[in-house]
């Protein structure tokens, strides 16, 4: 658990990171439109009760996305 998260899906509730880039081009466009921009801080808020999807805060917006989508957002923390 001590390993530093490399993408948003590996984060734990309360964690904050900076978006470094995206690993999926198709999704990256949608994610950027919704406010997930490279360089923006992202906060992992909470998971849905079944573990998926998750809720994050980015650019002042609350977004919900699935784990597999969160895994395409690389972060540096």
């Amino acid at each position: 658990m001590s390993e530093t998260p490399r993408n948003v899906s590996e984060m734990r509730p309360g964690d904050v990171g900076i978006i470094a880039g995206f690993t999926d081009e198709y999704l990256s466009v949608k994610l950027m439109e919704m406010g997930c921009l490279p360089g923006a801080p992202v906060r992992f808020n909470f998971k849905a009760p079944l573990g998926d999807p998750i809720c994050i805060s980015v650019s002042g917006y609350e977004l919900s996305l699935r784990i597999e989508e969160a895994a395409t957002i690389s972060i540096v923390s």
């Binding site: 990256s28 919704m34 009760p49 809720c55 996305l65």
Partner: protein
């Protein structure tokens, strides 16, 4: 008719930016729902009166995050805004943006400014902006963007006069482009501008980027665009990500300049606290099911009284018409075909209104996004999407608005599966059939002291429909293979108190859509069914009275009994009766006779007709149609000539219940599915599948129980 040169203004904005509030404030009750030409997306438009006394048409476009569409709803926005030479092209565009967080709103605005239509920016939620301690240099923002910027509070109607003044003034097209087009794209863009006469660079650029949103272009022009795109090796979507980054760069610089006082978003903390409960692993689901329970309870408890009133009203109207009009086929068509047909539509208005009141409150408050959040993982196991929950829930009232609500699902496969299985949810039209059959075969007694056995049976049927819907979805998930990706990147909006006028407008709008859409089909089918039930081969129908008198010579009937017997005789010898008898061999394995066959035929258009047909065929007379007790008694006395025992044994009753739970007996649903899937493939598959499911299940139930 519309005044030909009345100006049109389109309302564009992100979801949750307060667009519907602004639309309702601008147009009030002067709204109408139509269709955009050639597409099935609903067009909400209305008339607003400007300060100078003139009026303007306001078109409400679906909420979008960018000009690049994701779902069907969003595609229409791209098409309307890119087509600059159609009668439907807006003269002006109002972009409404949530001023508490402008980034996303400005992304959309910057794209629309570049498309080159005269644009105004309305900064909404200025009250929350003040509360959050943010302040903007609006003059500077307007100067930098080159367009008028008007601060408003759409919920309270503040700033509307200024906004109207700004729309009524002549407005030039934005001259400067925010986005700097890539060097690689300059040549094809220039070529398109020369060959097709496209107004500006970004519009031409969009032609290259969005081949799927160009249905407004002629075949020849589309070919020109395709040819240019191929010759320059321009792949759609190639630069979309880079464009977004460039635009956000501009927006960040702009915001740094015009934001006088920044704030943290701690004012949103209350929303996070609510989320802690509403998405809690225990309380979250408990509350969701409590809300569902409340909705069902209200639909059935509150709607009963107005529904009874409507039923009575139309029954009386029908009787009144019979008494005042001269006897003849036209009067009969009016009194027995058209009036009950309209009654059959209007009777669902209370339930639909209540359902949409709840759905609209849940959506306005921001809770619906949390329902999607809670249910997504579960629904995905069945090939559905978190967003399928709303249509499935709505399906309990009526499949028609439910299927229309699937447009928010952007994945084709998940949307098609949702459309396909929604009619399996037990809709309110099945309720009268369920009620009467349950009353007939399930004893009225309490179990464990307080559970009503009949109530449990009813709930079990609803559950059966739900399980069948999920099961069918799972099967379809295995069958349909597509490459299209499913994603759920969705905003969880800040919780807000619903705006009650918006709730009111939604109720009116959805109810109207149902009455008109379903009404057209139910009306025409009721006329066909009236013909089938009123005419027949030979002279049995015109001479029904003589035949019945001859039959009953031994024990003559009189008065009402005679009339009822004649009505039953007519139905038996009508075309509907002929079809019913022809069906008998096919439905005998399910335990049904030709009388039930007639009811199956007449309820093909709409299930609830079953009760009325049963009433007529058992000679109770249609006027007693609302008297369930009479029908029940009569059905209980019906004897099966083969066994000598009662006709409606538990086996037959349950078999019928299961049949009605699964069968696709709703023409209006089929018509809506046709409209939504743009073809006959899915509605026909649905009809075959559901009929087969109903037949086989009813057969199993009948044989297991008898």
């Amino acid at each position: 008719m519309a005044i030909p040169n009345r100006q049109k203004v389109a309302l564009v904005g992100n979801p949750n930016s307060g667009k519907s509030s602004l639309f309702n404030q601008l147009t009030g009750l002067k709204q109408k729902i139509g269709n955009f030409p050639g597409v099935t997306v609903e067009k909400r438009s209305g008339i607003t009166t400007l300060p100078d006394g003139s009026s303007m048409e306001v078109i409400d476009l679906p909420g979008i995050y960018s000009i690049y569409p994701r779902s069907l709803d969003e595609k229409i926005v791209a098409e309307i805004l890119l087509d600059h030479h159609a009668p439907s092209t807006p003269d002006k565009v109002i972009v409404i943006a949530d001023a508490t967080n402008l980034k996303r709103g400005l992304l959309l605005l910057s794209q629309i400014v570049d498309i080159g239509l005269p644009t105004i920016l309305a900064l909404n939620m200025m009250d929350l902006v003040a509360k959050a301690g943010i302040s903007y240099d609006i003059k500077n923002l307007s100067k930098k963007l080159g367009i008028p910027v008007i601060p408003i509070n759409a919920r309270m109607g503040i700033g509307l006069e200024e906004l109207k003044k700004a729309i009524s003034k002549p407005l030039a097209c934005p001259s400067k482009s925010i986005f700097r087009i890539w060097d690689e794209a300059k040549a094809p863009v220039q070529e398109l501008r020369d060959s097709l006469g496209v107004d500006n660079d970004y519009e031409a650029y969009q032609f290259l980027e969005q081949p799927k949103s160009l249905s407004f272009l002629s075949k020849k022009d589309q070919e020109v665009v395709n040819e240019v795109r191929e010759r320059f090796h321009f792949f759609p979507g190639k630069f979309q990500g880079a464009e977004t980054i460039q635009r956000y760069g501009f927006i960040q610089d702009l915001l740094n300049e015009v934001t006088l006082r920044q704030t943290d978003f701690s004012w949103k903390n209350y929303s996070r606290k609510i989320d802690r409960i509403l998405t809690h692993k225990v309380w979250g689901y408990a509350l969701f099911f409590a809300i569902l329970f409340l909705i069902f309870q209200s639909i059935f408890a509150w709607a009963t009284f107005p529904m009874d009133m409507i039923d009575l009203l139309f029954a009386n109207l029908s009787r009144y018409l019979h008494s005042v009009l001269p006897a003849g086929p036209l009067s009969s068509l009016l009194a027995d075909g058209i009036v009950p047909g309209i009654g059959g539509i209007v009777i669902f208005v209370p339930q639909i209104a209540i359902l949409f009141a709840f759905i609209s409150i849940l959506e306005e408050s921001g809770y619906m996004a949390r329902v999607v959040f809670l249910m997504d993982k579960l629904m995905r196991k069945f090939g559905l999407n978190g967003k399928s929950v709303v249509p499935l829930m709505s399906g309990v009232a009526c499949a028609i608005p439910a299927i229309m609500a699937t447009r928010t699902i952007d994945n084709w496969k998940e949307r098609t599966i949702t459309i396909f299985v929604t009619p399996l949810m037990s809709c309110s039209a099945r309720l009268p059939v369920f009620t009467i059959l349950i009353a007939l075969i399930v004893p009225e007694q309490k179990v464990l002291g307080f559970f009503n056995l009949q109530g449990i049976a009813l709930m079990a049927l609803y559950l059966l429909g739900f399980v069948a819907a999920l099961g069918s979805a799972w099967v379809m998930k295995q069958i349909i293979r597509v490459k299209e990706r499913s994603f759920l990147i969705m905003e969880l909006p800040t919780y807000r108190v619903p705006r009650w006028t918006n709730v009111g407008y939604t109720i009116v709008e959805k109810t109207k859509a149902f009455v008109v859409e379903a009404g057209k089909i139910i009306m025409s089918i009721s006329i066909v069914l009236w013909v089938l039930a009123s005419y027949g081969p030979g002279d049995h129908i015109p001479k029904a009275r003589e035949y019945v008198l001859a039959e009953t010579q031994a024990s003559p009937l009189s008065g009402k009994n005679l009339e009822d017997r004649i009505a039953a005789y007519k139905l038996e010898h009508s075309y509907a009766g002929v079809i019913g008898k022809a069906l008998e061999p096919g439905i005998q394995p399910l335990g049904y006779d030709w009388k039930i066959g007639i009811a199956l035929v007449t309820s093909f258009a709409a299930r609830e007709v079953f009760v009325g047909t049963m009433a007529t065929i058992y000679s109770i007379g249609s006027s007693a149609g609302d008297n369930a007790a009479t029908i029940k008694t009569r059905m209980r006395e019906e004897i099966d000539p083969l066994t000598g025992g009662p006709r409606f044994t538990p086996a037959v009753g349950f078999s019928l219940l299961v049949f009605y739970t699964f069968a696709m007996q709703c023409m209006s649903t089929l018509a809506v599915v046709y409209r939504e899937t743009k073809g006959w493939k899915w509605p026909l598959l649905q009809l075959c599948y559901m009929t087969a499911l109903a037949y086989v299940s009813a057969w199993i139930v009948f044989h297991v129980l008898s």
